[in-house]
Amino acid sequence: MSDSGTAERNSSTSAARKRWEPWNDPNERPHVQIANVTKRFGDFVAVDNISLDIYQREFFSLLGPSGCGKTTLLRMLAGFELPSDGQILLEGEDMSGVPPYQRPVNMMFQSYALFPHMNVETNIAFGLKQDGVPKPEIERRVAEVIDMVQLNAFARRKPHQLSGGQRQRVALARSLVKKPKMLLLDEPLGALDKNLRTQTQFELMNIQEETGITFVIVTHDQEEAMTVSSRIAVMDHGKIVQVSTPAELYEYPNSRYVADFIGEVNILEGRVAEREGDHLLVQSSEAGCTIKTGPSADEPAGRQVWIAIRPEKLNIALQAPPETGVNCLSGEVWDIGYLGNLSIYHVKLDSGKMVTATQANMARLIERPITWEDRVYLTWAPDAAVVLLN
């Protein structure tokens, strides 16, 4: 039943490896169902009628700026807040009457919330002790997770004798040792420095894969969400804007908000001129040309749309292409950022609009051919342009 997803993922022997996408499988039963959940604090609506299905073994991210309601949603999953409206079902069972200490769900706190008067071992053993697990089994399971997070040398230390990264591991071990049906992580890497964070992201993914526990992570860091997640829910003002895989979210954002929040993007405003096959022709005064989009839904002529093009999908050249009327921006190089592997060009179009293009520096040159105040032409493949309606 719910294990079929795992089976699919592990069957790497089959030549055409099927992708593990339980959310696209109508026979798959969701592990957690969030059904029309609303949370109000007085007049303030923190979570606004959210419905969401999360499947077993997913690494699911709630992504959004601070104050978007992602932490409130996580706290409702843990049981620290009760929904004002709606239901949360875990394996089909309504959780609304179940207090946090009876939910088969564990949380890793942003502050880690390690007990300062207990050492690493007793902190980790705390949860098992509450459940009355026999002592030898507690010892065995604690040793197991301590081994997993590589803290063997620090088992007898107290939290204040550990570094930030070590504390983070203790918190992770403590929330994993009870083998919860779902692990909730509230900004788990927020307090770590950048190098450690990148390294820990991969460790988290390995641990998630090893244990097979469903992870739900709250983060405001889009890079982190992109790295670790099977799917991401982008939130804004208590609502979910889009739920997709990282790649879908980046390549097919459904709104200007998502396109802008995930990575860098150039957005050009225009109006639909006509339809040509399954392409749209969009007239944009900002762009100063006609934009022929990739295959897209039919929109009535005259409708206002926004065209999103990622900087790395723009090709920058000094020579004008044969046809400059369609899918070609022209302007003056305003700024150049040389990052070594990449160069970032800020180009001021004739309309005054600034666009960004990035180029991989594949040739080994000290002097790049394009320099400040050059007149350049930006072109792109038609399917690089995404039509956004809001």
Partner: protein, 344 residues
């Protein structure tokens, strides 16, 4: 000697000159800040020229404080306790006596201490004081802990008002507050009146002039000394720890015992010391609220001093009282240091 790397401000240079006094700690910080004021700087420079190092100066300040306000008065009391009572001004024999030919004789006897052991009144008073102080400290903790805990769990906007309610009674005289309890506890007092009106009792209760009245008086008077350190300690506690405990399957009541209470031990210890020490030597409360059978060492000391005018004997009582207090505190601190070292 290495050159100081920072020479920008004269203060920094002098702080360096002052023997590189440890830059951590309250006193060292105070010292460093005071160095910015010219008179203090000149004073320190003069002492340095005389051969004192900055480090020893920093350490000397608290010792001087203890010497002036603790050790010196104690030595005076100790001196008097070794004397004999005389009808004179002051009413005891001097320790040093000038005799002929420029010789100085030391006149001291342990008679007073021996007398304390002979007469059962004194050790009974000590024991009774210890008992009363222990019980009332326990009662104060039992009442003070829920109050402090309630204060930190109350909405933030109420906290200041609640804190003021704890502190405000201090603004009235201690004596008046204890006197007020007489009016409440006496036979025809407010408490008996209220209980009889409610029909709970038919005969008025005798509370005033018993040990119970003393407990009530001590608990009431010293409650803020228990609540404030506990409040300060509990307020620092990260409430997400309780959420973490709940998340790991711990019920709220159990979480209180396994998380909140162990973390508040420093506050409990501080509060208990602050109540126990003055309660042990208390004399106003047993004098006003207690009965003739209420024995407390403070009361005994008072009557020895003012009624008998036996300064040497009352000084001996005070010295023993001090030892009764200081020895357990020192032992306790040793124990704590040892456990802290074992952890590190």
């Amino acid at each position: 000697m290495p050159e100081p790397t920072e020479k920008t401000t004269p203060g920094a240079k002098i702080a360096y000159l002052a023997g590189g006094a440890a830059s951590t700690g309250l006193i060292a910080g105070l010292h460093a800040r005071l160095l910015l004021f010219p008179p203090y700087r000149l004073f320190v420079l003069a002492l340095i020229r005389m051969g004192f190092s900055g480090r020893s100066l920093v350490i000397a300040v608290p010792y001087l404080w203890l010497l002036a306000f603790f050790l010196a008065p104690f030595l005076i009391v100790l001196k008097i306790s070794l004397a004999e009572v005389v009808i004179a001004q002051p009413p005891y024999t001097p320790l040093f006596v000038f005799i002929e030919d420029g010789f100085i004789a030391i006149q001291a006897s342990l008679d007073n201490y021996l007398f304390l052991m002979e007469d059962s009144l004194y050790w009974k008073s000590y024991l009774s004081s210890l008992r009363i102080a222990f019980i009332s400290t326990g009662l104060t903790l039992l009442i003070g802990y829920p109050i402090a805990y309630g204060m930190i769990r109350a909405p933030k906007r109420w906290r200041f008002a609640l804190l003021m309610m704890v502190i405000l009674p201090f603004w009235t005289s201690f004596l008046i507050r204890v006197y007020a309890w007489i009016g409440i506890l006496k036979k025809e007092g407010l408490l008996n009146l209220a209980l009889m009106q409610l029909g709970i009792i038919s005969e008025p209760l005798t509370i005033l002039n018993t040990d119970i009245a003393v407990y009530i008086g001590i608990v009431y008077s010293y409650l803020p000394f228990m609540v404030l350190p506990l409040y300060a300690n509990l307020e620092k506690m990260d409430l997400s720890l309780l959420e973490a405990a709940a998340d790991l399957g711990c019920r709220p009541i159990k979480a209180f015992w396994v998380v909140t209470v162990p973390l508040s031990v420093p506050g409990i210890v501080a509060g208990c010391f602050l109540v126990f020490i003055p309660a042990l030597g208390e004399f106003v409360i047993p004098d006003l609220l207690g009965g003739s059978q209420t024995l407390m060492i403070g009361k005994t000391l008072w009557s020895e001093f003012f009624n008998n005018r036996d300064w040497p004997l009352s000084s001996a009582v005070a010295v023993i009282l001090l030892l009764v207090l200081v020895i357990p505190i020192v032992l306790f601190q040793r124990m704590q240091e040892r456990s802290a070292r074992a952890e590190a």
